[in-house]
Symmetry: C2
Subunit: 293 residues, 2 copies
């Protein structure tokens, strides 16, 4: 039975996990220091819990306690009026419920490439993954800074069947609240790891047999649908503004592009945003697998 604790003071120290959710710098240090992250809304909280992340506490208006009662477990559930919640978080929480979740150790890049079970996964969850075997199609994100874009890319990856995601050392955190929310919980579903080293990070992927495809807006690159993809392929995606670093472009096996319309340049619109480009690229990448898989 859920353990409901009414709170009325936004300064209540038991609510410290929920402080100023829109203050990116504060949140980064607070979450790192306490090893926590925020899940928002019934669907995402449910997803995080069933994936195996431990719940530190929850904060919600009382009306949300009932629909979540089956996943809450023993964690303290702070219930408060909307204005108290807004007082601590800094905004009106439309999705109704917040959960402070405990981070789990990320697997190593080697573990993810070998198809190891994600850290958070309970055995029950994992049953569905048995047929997945080791990853053959992965994304590699270099220094993306926008949490919304990172979340949207995880959602594309999960929906389209990408096996895993590898992050550069400076890439934005997939467990940051906005990334979790935009991903619709896909950040819990897709195994991911963070490279320890940007400079030599791609060598490990190549060593594991991956063809490295660098996605670029440069229309002189090979169209992705014609690229020699091979049995294992890693699609490298660069920052929103500058694209991939010149080092990674050089290190890749093939620069690949999504063909733009012949008239797009004349129209002054000569590129896609990173999420649209990723969606098309994932779709193409999965199409390159043998039929029936």
């Amino acid at each position: 039975m859920a353990h409901l604790i009414p709170v009325t003071d936004p300064a209540d120290p038991r609510l410290a996990d929920y402080t100023r959710l829109r203050d990116v710098n504060l949140r980064k240090s607070l979450e790192a220091e306490h090893g926590l992250f925020m899940a928002e809304g019934e669907k995402v909280i449910r997803r995080a819990v069933t994936t195996g992340y431990p719940v530190r506490s929850l904060l919600m208006a009382r009306r949300w306690a009932e629909p979540l009662s089956d996943v809450i477990g023993d964690a303290p559930v702070y219930v408060a009026d909307d204005d108290v919640i807004e007082g601590i978080t800094g905004f009106a929480v439309h999705r109704g419920a917040l959960a402070s979740m405990e981070r789990l150790p990320l697997p190593s890049v080697a573990d993810v490439l070998a198809g190891a079970r994600p850290a958070g996964n309970t055995p029950a969850e994992d049953a569905g993954r048995d047929g997945r075997a080791r990853p053959r199609r992965i994304l590699v994100l270099e220094d993306l800074v926008d949490h919304g874009n990172v979340g949207a890319i995880f959602r594309c990856a999960a929906a389209l069947g990408v096996d895993a995601v590898i992050l550069s050392p400076r890439c934005a955190d997939p467990l940051y609240r906005r990334a979790v929310k935009v991903s619709m919980g896909a950040v819990f579903a897709i195994p991911y790891a963070r490279m320890a080293d940007w400079h030599d990070g791609l060598a490990e992927l190549r060593g594991a047999g991956f063809t490295l495809l660098a996605l670029t807006p440069d229309q002189s690159a090979v169209p992705l649908e014609k690229a020699p993809v091979g049995e294992r392929a890693a699609l490298l995606l660069g920052t929103e503004g500058d694209g991939l670093s010149s080092r990674w472009l050089r290190e890749a096996d093939h620069p690949v592009c999504i063909p733009m319309s012949a008239g797009a340049m004349d129209l002054g619109v000569d590129s896609l945003n990173v999420v649209a480009a990723t969606a098309i690229a994932c779709h193409e990448l999965m199409r390159s697998l043998p039929v029936g898989e």
Copy 2:
């Protein structure tokens, strides 16, 4: 030569066009009443001006006047310190320059389907369009409410070569500031029109020879890449939450889907966001044109 007018008072009535840019309700009525829209940033302003939209006025920090001097023409240019600009607009304008532009009459749906020249286009601009002839691949947006999504869809459409966009009567305004900005100016580049009537709006498209393809997350629909597209095809896209109305789904010739990964359902991520889905769908739609076009 640009006509620079220093302003120091955020309440200056000459700046009324720029009032509270983040107040959606205020802006909708203010822009409708005065027949204006906002363009933000050098690239987008330049695009709007060269497409033929008349400039009512500009507002910027003085440092931006020089780079824009060739497109400003005779319009008054209000120059002010950043805090004055923030005082009137309600936020820090990072892109540096704002232009209040005059709306032009939208063409009719029939005109757009016939490939008529967009209202704003100057003859010089239009030269590049001669080879375009009448539209063969169009998008139809039913009641999308998010201006960012509308802008992103226009950007996809322009980059991938979609010929035109038709909006349902209640679809969000492509010339709203956020849509313009996210589109990177593509809302000026792609001809579009708004249906007068939602109920019978699709009949006109069918009458013009378009095959109506209704994009749905329903995985029992035909994958878009296998759909019978025909010489003229219209892809119908529904709202962010509920998808297409049942009437439009019923009216369409074929429901079509983007195939999700077999494991996506198990992962709890069973759909793409509307922009990612549109990007993939546009890519497939353009691929269905005969090779070499």
